[in-house]
């Protein structure tokens, strides 16, 4: 072997030794943002004591950190001031960048963000194909993953300015390395129920940006049990309602409501929203109800003189949309508009407006006396609520074909008799809520 080749071989071996020798220097975890802040805060200082100031950021706590933080704050106020005023700096590399609002990121996380949030949609490409996304924001940490308690990624977070979060990955996940940093502008709408995160420049972890950016819905709102829960305007998800027959799987239906709505019931077979109009106490009640039935049944005819409810299902009527529509159209005493095709949340169905025939006099016997009317639909449970029609009590019915085996019904009705014009107004208020439906079928 020539001397030259021998030296080349040595250099190859030596390079491997050098790498192994210096591996120990990169084993410690670093906080890149803290190092960045410290470097920025160290401007102008010289000498050994200044070096010691920052030493701990690479692995240990340091003496004098309070002084350092105060100094950081002063420097950052200057930086933010430049960002707000848009003053150019003296960079010599190309044009001036847009000042980032993430210049300071050590503020407390606003209370409005410190909640559990959920995505109603599959939005996490790159971090596995989650049916929904779950995001938990606490004072200094953010977890996000496919479901509560199964955090797939964790980032340290700090607030910068009034509307910016800076996130730093603290665990390695698919697509994210420890220390990856991103900055997001946040906003909260609907009285705190909907949060929107918007990336500011590119997140070092693109998968995290794909997972975080966009709208999130509060998932830690109280679940209604017996009483009603008032909903601030916003987008919500059902918790127990089970239209796809997957018991125990929450969030199968999301909906958006404006002001004035309450959740009256959220059960596997029935989901009920109640709208409270601005009416004076002297006026007749015009409360509007939206009943949503999973797997509804056609109610049986009421026998003459029978006690009102509970009603039984009509024998021989199937649970498909066409079965129920045909049975309603054929029922004596029911006046219906022709079935109109509708698509709600991607599922097709039929819409009917029903009212009682003017000459219909039959009904059932309630404690306060006879009630003229007809029961139309029952929920999956015979002991659950039902909907029907009466004199001046019309009903809008939407039947949706969810799958080969599953049907869902949405009914709009008024508890008290109302004028047709009043009911039309109520329907106009409720339909946008129905049209906002998004279905989230559980994964098989």
């Amino acid at each position: 072997m020539t001397e030259r080749r021998a030296m080349e071989a040595f250099e190859t071996r030596f390079a491997g030794r050098v790498r192994a020798y210096t591996d120990t220097a990169i084993e410690r975890r670093i906080d890149a943002l803290a190092i960045s802040r410290n470097a920025m805060s160290s401007q102008g200082a010289t000498g050994w004591s200044q070096r010691r100031l920052g030493a701990g950021l690479l692995g240990r706590r340091i003496a004098g950190v309070r002084w350092a933080l105060a100094f950081v704050a002063v420097v950052l106020i200057g930086v933010v001031g430049v960002a707000v005023l848009g003053r150019p700096s003296d960079s010599v590399i190309g044009p001036q960048p847009t000042p980032s609002p993430a210049a300071s990121a050590d503020g407390p996380i606003p209370e409005a963000l410190r909640h559990s949030w959920q995505r109603p949609y599959a939005v996490t490409p790159g971090l596995d194909q989650w049916a929904t996304g779950f995001l938990s924001v606490a004072s200094g940490v953010m977890d996000f993953g496919p479901e509560p308690g199964a955090a797939a990624s964790r980032s340290a977070i700090g607030a910068a300015g009034l509307d910016t979060l800076v996130v730093t990955a603290t665990v390695e996940t698919k697509g994210c390395a420890i220390g990856d940093i991103g900055a997001y502008r946040w906003s909260v709408e609907g009285q705190g129920t909907v949060m929107t995160l918007t990336g500011i420049s590119a997140d070092a972890c693109a998968a995290r940006e794909a997972a975080l950016a966009g709208q999130w819905v509060r998932s830690d709102l109280p679940v209604p049990t017996g009483g009603e829960v008032t909903l601030p305007p916003g987008t919500y998800q059902t918790s127990a309602f089970d239209p796809f027959d997957k018991p125990g799987v929450p969030d199968q239906l999301s909906y958006t409501v404006p002001e004035g709505w309450k959740v009256k019931e959220d059960r596997p077979a029935t989901f009920v929203l109640h709208h409270l109009p601005d009416a004076s106490p002297s006026q007749p009640s015009t409360d509007t109800f939206m009943f949503v039935f999973a797997q509804p049944q056609m109610a049986a005819d009421i026998a003459e003189g029978a006690v009102c409810g509970p009603f039984s299902d009509a024998p021989g009527v199937g649970r498909g949309v066409d079965d129920i529509v045909a049975a309603i159209m054929a029922r004596p005493g029911v006046v219906s508009t022709p079935p109109a095709a509708v698509t709600i949340g991607g599922f097709e169905g039929q819409l009917l407006d029903l009212h009682l025939a003017p000459d219909w006099t039959k009904g059932c016997l309630a404690p306060e006396g006879p009630i003229v009317g007809l029961a139309i639909l029952l929920g999956a449970s015979e002991t659950g609520p039902s909907v029907g029609i009466g004199p001046d009590s019309p009903l809008r019915l939407i039947l949706l074909d969810l799958t080969d085996e599953r049907t869902m019904a949405v009914a709009i009705f008024n508890v008290e008799p109302s004028q047709p014009s009043e009911f039309e107004k109520q329907v106009a208020e409720v339909m946008p809520v129905i049209e906002s439906f998004e279905f989230h079928p559980p994964m098989p």
Partner: protein
């Protein structure tokens, strides 16, 4: 669109511009991207983990101060590594009695490919070199830079680096018993 700042390509130039403008997140991204190189070269020159950490931290402060003077973004990596090497040299000089004798204790349960004794030999061999020479060797074997790049960062001529590297490698080869 709520955000008023449109996402930009995550280029080195863009990060540099934002960092120069005072964006600590942009500078943190540079830190995250170059920490390993900085840590390796600092340790290679100091031979001591504590001093290397200190040197790296000091180097980031120096780098931030001088970032606006870096006219060619493509030079960022060699420039940063030379800053770290220089800080490590200064710290090693000021604590000469501690230089290049410490070898991190390794976990005996952890498998490693390189013989631990070989690492001690390397530390000893490096300890016999001047810190500036260790910086030159480190830039060559950690950074992978050519003589011309090393020369530019170290304020030398390319031929001077070539000659010095050759001599240093001859010496290391002999000291490591690899001749």
């Amino acid at each position: 669109m709520i955000g008023s700042v449109i996402a930009e390509p995550n280029t080195q130039r863009s990060m540099l511009e934002h960092a120069i403008a005072g964006d600590e997140v942009a500078f943190a991204r540079i830190v995250a991207a170059h920490h390993n190189d900085m840590a390796r070269i600092a340790y290679f020159v100091c031979g001591d983990l504590d001093m290397a950490e200190e040197a790296e931290q000091s180097a980031w402060a120096v780098a931030y101060r001088r970032l606006k003077d870096l006219r060619d973004p493509d030079r960022l990596r060699p420039w940063l590594m030379s800053v770290a090497a220089n800080e490590a040299r200064q710290i090693a000089r000021s604590q000469r009695r501690r230089t290049v004798r410490e070898l991190a204790v390794t976990d005996p349960t952890r498998p490693h490919d390189i013989d631990h004794a070989a690492m001690i030999d390397l530390a000893d061999a490096l300890g016999r070199l001047d810190p500036k020479d260790r910086a030159i060797v480190g830039l060559r074997f950690i950074g992978g830079f050519e003589s011309a790049e090393i020369a530019r960062e170290m304020g030398m001529t390319a031929s001077g680096v070539r000659v010095r590297l050759h001599r240093l490698l001859e010496r290391l080869r002999k000291d490591l018993g690899d001749d």
